[in-house]
């Protein structure tokens, strides 16, 4: 019954007029920007991050979460209609979604994607309500050694699940942590690695880093390699799935939801892994695997449900442990810290309105997506035809104004340029920017906890092994690393990312 009261509190917060508006604006903006070619959820959130500054923490996080779902949904729209995955997790959707669209069933594909996502979102939200409080209670037992080990698991998982080379992902994490340490050292008050720039005394700000790495770098890549767009001409078809469609896809939606909910919990998992796993499961279980890749509705329904469920449950580690499990939640943590909310198990007890309000707004956001988006498909299709040569000056302008307006600092604009260039070069050299951002967020926290743990133990590293929680977590990370290095798993992993 306590739970009902808390959910009630959450809905009370989320249903207040202001928060409903933020949720709506977030979902709409997210879809709008996410549908635009060449802009994935990461770039979208990074670009709209400054908007959050004007709001209260609750409102801001509700809006950011709305932007996230919206952008993800927009990503599947581009995947189906243009054969362009707006982001890696909707890549699988292009396989069958685009084929469906070519057969004149774009509407059905979009409809089932939206309905499946909504169902998955509902289930995942329920799961968060049930399990987040339990996990938060466990997390209250954590001391600094456990926290340090927990973050090690998070970073290791990010490496294991990165799509490129393990070695390069590790290097990116180290670089991210190093960048995170720039600025004033908390315990000694010394300026570190600022090269005499007073603007760096508070460290590298998160907004220019995220906008540069994900916004500007993306523009540079798109200009270098223009993507050929072929928006589906002709009929979209009704978005209302037929009875046969529903019957066909219901089991896929259920399985996708289950898979996604579990995989989303894993640090580093989230949407990407979920959608790949779901697609493979559907193909394996199907009686006619050869129809996959030729417009099988299950190939859309399963992965789309799975990635939404995964996106949703990846908020559990964020809200209860304060650990980001993917770049998007890393951005959310960055936003929370900037707004003076320290993410972690205490959020739930100290700021229950924030905690439950966000959870309730997740469900409302999913509902809004369904209501806003399906009837507006026509508009999104028209947006897809916007040419990139018109689009990217707009994105640049929004990024510039956004990053400047946060602190009225031209230095931040400069930082954004530097990180845009760095992000572009890194991808050129085969690195992925996502682990860097995770390291950047977690680095300073890890240092604090490491220092505390070692002071407590008198400099004895065995504290990390003596405490059962910490020891267990370290074993998990070791196992993850070892498993990835095994040749068989390694080749399977490569195959998954190649497919």
């Amino acid at each position: 019954m306590e739970l009902l009261g808390q959910i009630g509190l959450g809905f009370g917060v989320a249903l207040s007029f202001d928060n409903l508006v933020y949720c709506f604006v977030g979902a709409l903006l997210g879809t709008l920007v996410g549908v635009l070619p060449g802009l994935g959820p990461l770039a979208t959130i990074a670009m709209l991050l400054p908007l959050a500054y004007a709001l209260s923490p609750v409102g801001a996080l509700i809006m950011l979460a709305g932007i996230y779902y919206g952008a993800q949904y927009g990503g599947s729209t581009t995947a189906i209609l243009v054969n362009l995955p707006g982001e890696s997790s909707s890549f699988v959707t292009t396989l069958d979604g685009y084929q469906m669209a070519r057969q004149g069933r774009a509407g059905a594909a979009l409809g089932i994607a939206a309905l499946g996502s909504f169902f998955a979102g509902t289930v995942a939200t329920l799961l968060i309500c049930l399990f987040a409080p339990m996990l938060a209670k466990v997390a209250l037992q954590f001391n600094s050694a456990d926290y340090f080990s927990l973050m090690v698991v998070g970073l290791v998982a990010a490496v294991v699940l990165a799509s490129g080379s393990l070695f390069r992902a590790l290097a990116m994490i180290v670089l991210g942590v190093l960048l995170g340490l720039i600025g004033t050292d908390v315990s000694s008050g010394m300026l570190r690695m600022t090269f005499g720039m007073m603007d760096l005394a508070d460290g590298i700000s998160f907004v220019p880093l995220a906008m540069g790495m994900f916004g500007v770098a993306e523009i540079l890549r798109n200009i270098e390699e223009p993507q050929k767009q072929s928006v589906i001409e002709g009929k979209i078809g009704s978005w209302l799935p037929t009875r046969a469609d529903l019957k066909d896809s219901a089991p896929a939606v259920l399985r996708g939801t289950l898979l996604g909910s579990i995989l989303g919990l894993l640090p580093g998992g989230g949407a990407l892994l979920s959608s790949f796993a779901s697609y493979m499961v559907e193909k394996k279980l199907s009686r006619e695997p050869e129809t996959f890749g030729r417009g099988n509705i299950r190939g859309v329904a399963g992965p789309e449900s799975a990635n939404n469920a995964g996106a949703q449950t990846s908020f559990i580690p964020l809200l209860t442990l304060g650990i980001p499990s993917n770049p998007v939640t890393a951005i959310m943590i960055g936003a929370m810290i900037m707004m003076g909310v320290q993410p972690g198990p205490l959020v739930m007890t100290r700021q229950p309105d924030l905690f439950w309000g966000i959870i309730a707004s997740m469900w409302i956001g999913n509902l809004m997506l369904l209501v806003i988006n399906l009837p507006l498909i026509g508009i999104w299709v028209r947006l897809l035809r916007v040419r990139y040569s018109v689009l990217f000056p707009i994105i640049l302008l929004v990024c510039a104004v956004g990053v400047y307006s946060v602190g009225n600092s031209t230095f931040d604009v400069g930082l954004m340029i530097v990180f845009g260039l760095l992000g572009y070069l890194l991808t050129k050299f085969g690195f992925e920017p996502a682990p860097l951002v995770l390291g950047f967020i977690l680095g300073p926290l890890m240092e604090v906890n490491l220092r505390r743990a070692l002071i407590g133990s008198g400099g004895d590293f065995s504290i990390f092994i003596d405490r059962p929680i910490s020891c267990g977590l370290l074993l998990v990370s070791a196992a993850l690393l070892a498993v990835t290095c095994l040749p068989r798993i390694r080749s399977a992993r490569e195959r998954v990312f190649v497919e």
Partner: protein, 149 residues
């Protein structure tokens, strides 16, 4: 045979080494402390060394293991994008949002596929007007719209 077989690896390793060198140099004057009382330089120095190690290993690896080539295309256009942002940073404080926005769009249009002056001017004018109305009037961000004299 000795030769560069992985251009991406070589360049990536060089980049890591350069960053590690720079940050390591900046952290070298900080107190290292001890395991029991970690100084401000403890992690930065260790991590810079590790990052440098990664860079060195990558560079060595690029001599033996083949990898994809490194190709840069359309470099002038990429520079135009960065230059547009640089213009914004230079102009925004004294010249106001309208003129800065105009500059961003005009300069970045040099990176577009179709470059026609009239079209770029039109786009710049429209976007600068919208941006001024949206950001200054509607969202009332702390920006001045016009030059300060």
């Amino acid at each position: 045979m000795i030769g560069i077989r992985d251009q991406q690896g070589l360049a990536g390793g060089l980049l890591l080494l350069a960053i590690a060198g720079g940050l390591g140099w900046a952290a070298s004057s900080l107190a290292f402390g001890s395991v029991m009382a970690m100084g401000p330089g403890f992690l930065p120095q260790i991590l810079a060394a590790v990052l440098g190690g990664f860079g060195a290993v990558m560079m060595m690896g690029s001599l033996t293991v083949a990898g994809p080539p490194l190709v840069f295309r359309r470099l002038p256009r990429l520079l135009a994008v960065l230059a547009a942002l640089l213009c914004f940073a230079q102009l925004i404080e004294d010249w106001g949002l309208f003129l800065s926005a105009l500059a961003v769009v005009l300069v970045s249009c040099a990176a577009a596929d179709e470059r026609r002056l009239a079209r770029s001017l039109g786009l710049a004018g429209v976007l600068a007007t919208i941006a001024t109305i949206l950001f200054v009037e509607l969202l009332s961000l702390p920006l001045s719209a016009w030059p300060r004299f």
